[in-house]
């Protein structure tokens, strides 16, 4: 009896130990099951943008709740959203670390990590630790209709030019407006004073009536530019790519003040029970097939340098200015906001919209 009782206790323990010890090695990727939740931006949930993972782990279910903006993604994570992974952009990274919302990443588990240039790796570091995996990158500049503005656009100040009244569309975003003004005035974006902010507010109150509308999502901007209502807009190159694809005569400006550039990163929620699977997902996100889709479908850059050096399409070379080795130096990188800047700049934008 005693012997049998020992057996009944010991067997499950041994079984559990075996499972813990061997499970990850024993289950081939093709048979791995589980569920991952990724808080994404609309559009990136398409299978094209995580194709490497889907091919390798066909039995893992990936859910994609959508965040509407940087602030929305951040607020959701701060409010205890249970997503395993979230997609954040430069400007908004430090808050996640400050509030303890993001897990430090063990990059030794990422097989594609050595394909990411150091300059991109640094973007995902806060206080010297790798909290984020840089993934997509691109420019912000002025997108314009070449048939409506044959003289071309050479400065960010075109967004505030009364000559284009009724045909401008600014992104509905306070920090974006502060960025544009700081380029025009050659101010240090990271150290905007209260006086400078007051000037920026006045400028954009005047600018408000020049817009047909503020755009919030790329599809409405694309429709308005294709229809000819909007002639120039603050835009990312995804809109440029789509309009070029539709045969709309558009160009993506190279302003004298420099384009803005940004990087999108993925973070893993602190305390997620799916850490291992999340790392596998991010490793696959850096894969070449996924990267090629990001480049070819959205015209955004990918942080896997093999992908970027393989670009041959002339339209893509034009979009990324791959033939201009100085383009990244000529562009202004989006700095991280502080909490005070975030609150002040978003409040300024709300007051611009509410102004008489």
């Amino acid at each position: 009896m005693k012997h049998r009782r020992c057996q009944t206790i010991a067997l499950p323990i041994i079984a559990v130990l075996l499972l813990i010890g061997c499970a990850p090695a024993a289950v081939p990727p093709g048979e791995q099951t589980g569920t991952l939740t990724v808080l994404e931006w609309a559009g990136y949930e398409a299978p094209d943008f995580w194709t490497d993972f889907q091919t390798t782990y066909p039995h893992v279910t990936v859910n994609f709740p959508i965040g509407a903006s940087d602030a929305d993604v951040y607020a959701k994570m701060a409010a205890g959203d249970q997503a395993d992974i979230f997609h954040a952009y430069t400007g908004w990274l430090e808050f996640y670390v400050e509030e303890g919302l993001v897990e430090e990443i063990d990059t030794s588990k990422l097989s594609n990590w050595d394909k990411v240039p150091d300059s991109f790796k640094r973007v995902g570091q806060v206080n010297g630790k790798q909290y984020f995996i840089p993934w997509d990158w691109g420019f912000t500049s002025i997108l314009y209709r070449t048939d409506k503005i044959p003289e071309g656009v050479t400065s960010w100040s075109a967004l505030l030019n009364p000559a284009y009244a009724g045909h401008i569309s600014m992104w509905d975003d306070g920090p974006g407006a502060v960025t544009v003004s700081s380029y025009i005035h050659q101010w240090d974006e990271t150290a905007i004073t209260a006086d400078q902010l007051a000037t920026i507010k006045d400028e954009w109150i005047v600018q408000r009536d020049l817009n047909l509308f503020y755009w919030a999502g790329e599809p409405e901007l694309i429709a308005a530019m294709a229809g000819g209502d909007v002639w120039l807009a603050y835009a990312w190159q995804g809109a440029y790519a789509t309009l070029l694809g539709q045969g709309v005569p558009v160009a993506y400006a190279d302003p004298v003040e420099g384009r803005n550039s940004w990087v999108g990163v993925y973070g893993i929620r602190k305390g997620t029970p799916n850490l291992d699977l999340a790392l596998k997902f991010l490793d696959a996100k850096l894969g070449a097939a996924t990267g090629n889709n990001v480049v070819n479908l959205f015209y955004y850059g990918h942080t896997n340098q093999d992908v970027m050096s393989g670009i041959t399409d002339p339209a893509l070379i034009e979009a990324f200015s791959v033939d201009d080795p100085a383009i990244l130096e000529k562009s202004n990188f989006t700095p991280n906001l502080t909490v005070e800047q975030r609150d002040a700049w978003t409040a300024m934008w709300a007051e611009i919209k509410a102004a008489p």
């Binding site: 607020a75 975003d173 306070g174 009536d209 909490v339 975030r342 978003t346 007051e351 509410a354």
Partner: protein, 303 residues
């Protein structure tokens, strides 16, 4: 109060009370909706009240915080928000008034003139609701846009040489769209009120020599006023906080107070300020409604 009223007019009770005892009826009829409202309305409002006294978004959203009046202080100091609240209330007032005035003849027609086809017409009135609100508002973009149906027709007819910009992305566009959206809703309470009017009153009025216009002003309109008022407030109250329609057809000048509240939640990650703004709007709307109800003495009509 109810007991006193019932005791005062026992003879006026026209129907027998069903055979369900009072506590059972309470649990069966009143508790489910009350519980629903408590969970999905009162709890969020309570949370918003708590959040509006948070100094900022720093720290865990679930940890306790020291109450602060920061949000209200900066809200009270920003004149443009107050002005916009006034503008939004004005837009809601115009929308509610126009929708009610336009819906009244429809309800009148359905009650007195449509005859046997009334239910068919009512069904047709409600057909737009088979499609989503977003889709219908998007349809207005196709109608009002610079290359939309109306502008295309005007330029085809040679009436304008360049598209009318006012039609879309403006405050009037928001009000026009809102009126359109509300008319079918507003018809229903007016219809219900008109159907309750006792036809014998019209016969009596006609026998006494009243003209149709006089019958309308002395009998039909006063007796339908409870429905008209219900319709008006049904539009006015939610429209003050409207944000979807201005987002779609308002442009930079058609923005309403609700859009700013939404911005503080979705674009600024500033829930404390957004909560304070939302609560001020709630208080202002309730105050306006209370004031209106005092001025027009609803009880006189409801009796």
């Amino acid at each position: 109060m109810t007991t006193a009223k019932e005791a005062g007019r026992p003879a006026s009770r026209r129907w027998r009370r069903p055979a369900v005892d009072r506590p059972a009826a309470f649990w069966l009829l009143a508790v489910p909706p009350t519980a629903w409202l408590a969970v999905f309305f009162l709890a969020p409002v309570a949370l918003a009240i708590l959040f509006s006294f948070r100094p900022d978004m720093r720290g865990s959203l679930f940890a306790a915080w020291t109450p602060s009046l920061n949000q209200y202080a900066s809200l009270f100091a920003t004149a443009s928000y107050w002005r916009l609240l006034g503008v939004s209330a004005g837009m809601a007032l115009i929308t509610a008034a126009c929708a009610t005035v336009l819906a009244y003849p429809v309800a009148y027609f359905l009650t007195f003139n449509a005859g046997r086809r009334a239910s068919l017409y009512l069904l047709l009135l409600l057909v737009p609701f088979w499609t989503s609100y977003m889709l219908r508002v998007m349809a207005w973009k196709f109608l009002l846009g610079s290359e939309g149906v109306i502008n295309s027709f005007l330029s085809y007819a040679g009436l304008v040489d360049k598209p009318l910009a006012l039609l879309i992305y403006s405050r009037p566009a928001v009000v026009i769209t809102l009126i359109y959206v509300w008319i079918p809703f507003v018809t229903l309470p007016i219809l219900a009120a008109l159907q309750r009017v006792d036809p014998a009153l019209f016969e009596a009025a006609a026998d006494l020599g009243a003209s149709p216009a006089r019958v309308f002003t002395r009998i039909t309109l006063p007796l339908s006023l409870p429905g008209v008022l219900a319709a008006f407030f049904m539009v006015f109250i939610p429209t003050v906080g409207e944000y979807v329609t201005p987002l779609l057809v308002g442009g930079t000048r058609g923005i309403m107070y609700g859009n700013i509240v939404q911005d503080f939640f979705t674009k600024a990650a500033n829930w404390p300020f957004g909560s304070a703004m939302a609560l001020v709007m709630l208080a202002a709307t309730l105050a306006l409604v209370a004031l209106a109800l005092r001025l027009v003495d609803v009880r006189r009509w409801l009796e």
